[in-house]
């Protein structure tokens, strides 16, 4: 269940290992309609990050995703509160083009607050390939932003077909498949193999999907996997524990926990 290695031993004992920081590349912020969270605020999330040795969280606020009237300013506030620990994805809601224009202007107002865009085609009920996203994706390509897209097997909004099309259309974007096309693991592997700019986010793969991490690693994709937790949804300690009990090497664990994220974030001044 947990094989003893230098890395697993250190995290099992102390929840930390020198020279192995953790970058959580898929988080959120704030309250949410379907769940009671014990720790939804930026301050509380950073407390959880401290406990699990998470150096930085890249997040999209729930308010920005689901309350257009609040938009992305809540994310900016959180980053300003914890500039060394938090960076935001600018959430793009395709149902409100005027808000997209408004929110994209935040990239100029707060260039150090954002590392990318977050698309949630399933929740917004607009396919990831729809023209409504084009202005935002164009900006992402111009500015070399990361693009985190919620992806799920079987979805007509963000399933394998949409993710493959998106990857083919935007070779200049680091495209992070949020949840790695959950359930459509073979398709996720194929897309990641076909497109070197596609990354596989492990958020929500670490619950009852044992074997996925090994599948990705065996496919030679350890250098494309990213640690993620949906914080404040899921405990980073739990996600870390899952990674410890996956049958992969310590070298792969280093890549997942920090190496791959450090590579992606190096394009932003002052990071990692």
């Amino acid at each position: 269940m947990i094989k003893e290695t230098p890395l697993t031993r250190a995290f099992w004992q102390d929840l930390r290992l020198p020279h192995c920081p953790i970058y959580d590349m898929h988080g959120h912020l704030g309250r949410y309609y379907g769940i009671w969270f014990p720790r939804p605020s930026a301050e509380e999330m950073v407390r959880s990050m401290d406990r699990a040795n998470v150096r930085m969280l890249c997040f999209a606020s729930h308010a920005a995703l689901f309350a257009p009237d609040l938009g992305n300013r809540t994310a900016v506030q959180a980053v300003r509160q914890y500039p060394g620990r938090l960076r935001a994805y600018l959430s793009v809601n395709p149902n409100h083009p005027e808000h997209i224009r408004r929110d994209l202007s935040l990239l100029d107002e707060h260039p150090d607050a954002f590392v990318g865009l977050k698309l949630h085609p399933e929740k917004h009920q607009v396919p990831a390939t729809a023209p409504a996203y084009a202005p935002a994706l164009q900006v992402a390509e111009e500015r070399e932003l990361l693009v985190l897209v919620h992806s799920w097997g079987g979805s007509r909004h963000n399933g394998p077909e949409q993710m493959r099309t998106l990857a083919a259309r935007h070779p200049g974007i680091a495209l992070i498949l949020g949840h790695s096309l959950h359930g459509a693991w073979d398709e996720a592997v194929k897309i990641a193999r076909d497109f070197a700019h596609v990354y596989l986010d492990l958020t929500a793969l670490l619950d009852n999907d044992r074997g996925v991490i090994e599948k990705f690693a065996d496919a030679g994709l350890a250098d494309r996997m990213l640690f993620g937790t949906d914080l404040p949804w899921f405990s980073p300690v739990a996600a870390l524990g899952c990674l410890l009990s996956a049958d992969i090497t310590d070298e792969d664990r280093h890549a997942v926990l920090h190496g791959n994220a450090e590579g992606l974030l190096a394009r932003f001044p002052g990071l990692p």
Partner: protein, 248 residues
């Protein structure tokens, strides 16, 4: 820290998996690797194929493995498949089995007092824990109805929704003192700490969800939960040992 896993299975599922299906022997080997002392185990055939033949398969599979304690799947008594409630429960205890699961939807019966009231009354009297899997057919409405009818039943809500389900389970914990939750897919950030603050550490049980879950998730969370050593030890092993010691 000692771990007693209350939620693991063995056997080969009907459908494909990403992991190698565990035998009793490979489960014990995995427990050794992880430092898990004992496990409450069922056989996947009890769900995928047939409860009764699955129960037999389980008993044969874990025979000789003293660290594995069996869980049987129940059926209603009306078709004469298991004898009377008293007879079946007596056979269960005689076989060293210490807990029960049920899959009403899959086995096509209604989980109502008219159907399983005789059996649940005996289980409640004898304090045999009933594990209700939210991943395998149990619903929150079912749990609420069962507990309203049998408030003294010892229930372990396991394989909880991956979306943190406090709004579902907290009313049950508030109302019924013998309801517990299992950890394998209770992944809420700071969820263990918040739970223990409200209910104490006596009503949460360590379960790995093995082989479907990466067991390190629940193990690391329990080991480093910010609830004090006594609370961690209770969740890791003490609570399930206490419940099983009450079976009579």
């Amino acid at each position: 820290m000692r771990f007693y896993d209350c939620n693991a299975w063995v056997g080969t599922p009907a459908n494909g998996t990403l992991f190698s299906p565990p035998t009793a022997g490979s489960l014990v080997a995995a427990m050794d690797e992880a430092g898990v002392e004992k496990a409450l185990v069922w056989h996947i055939a009890q769900h995928d194929y047939d409860p009764l033949e699955g129960n037999d398969l389980l008993s044969r599979a874990i025979a000789g493995h003293e660290r594995l304690v069996g869980v049987w799947t129940m059926l209603p008594t009306q078709c004469g498949e298991i004898g009377s409630a008293e007879e079946w429960t007596g056979r269960l205890i005689e076989a060293g089995v210490q807990a029960v699961r049920m899959f009403p939807e899959r086995n096509r019966y209604l989980p109502r007092p008219e159907v399983i009231g005789d059996l649940l009354s005996v289980l409640a009297d004898r304090r045999v824990p009933l594990l209700l899997s939210l991943r395998r057919g149990a619903t929150w409405a079912m749990a609420y109805d069962l507990l309203e009818a049998f408030p003294a039943l010892t229930v372990v809500l396991c394989d909880l929704d991956v979306w943190p389900a406090d709004r579902f389970f907290r009313p049950l914990l508030d109302r019924y003192e013998r309801v517990h939750i299992e950890t394998s897919t209770y992944l809420a950030d700071a969820g263990i700490e918040a739970f223990v603050e409200r209910y104490g550490a006596g009503r949460m049980l360590f379960g790995s969800g093995f082989p479907e879950c990466y067991p390190g998730g629940a193990m690391l969370r329990v080991r480093h939960a910010e609830i004090g050593e006594a609370g961690r030890a209770a969740i890791a092993a003490g609570n399930i040992e206490r419940l099983l010691s009450e079976v009579r």
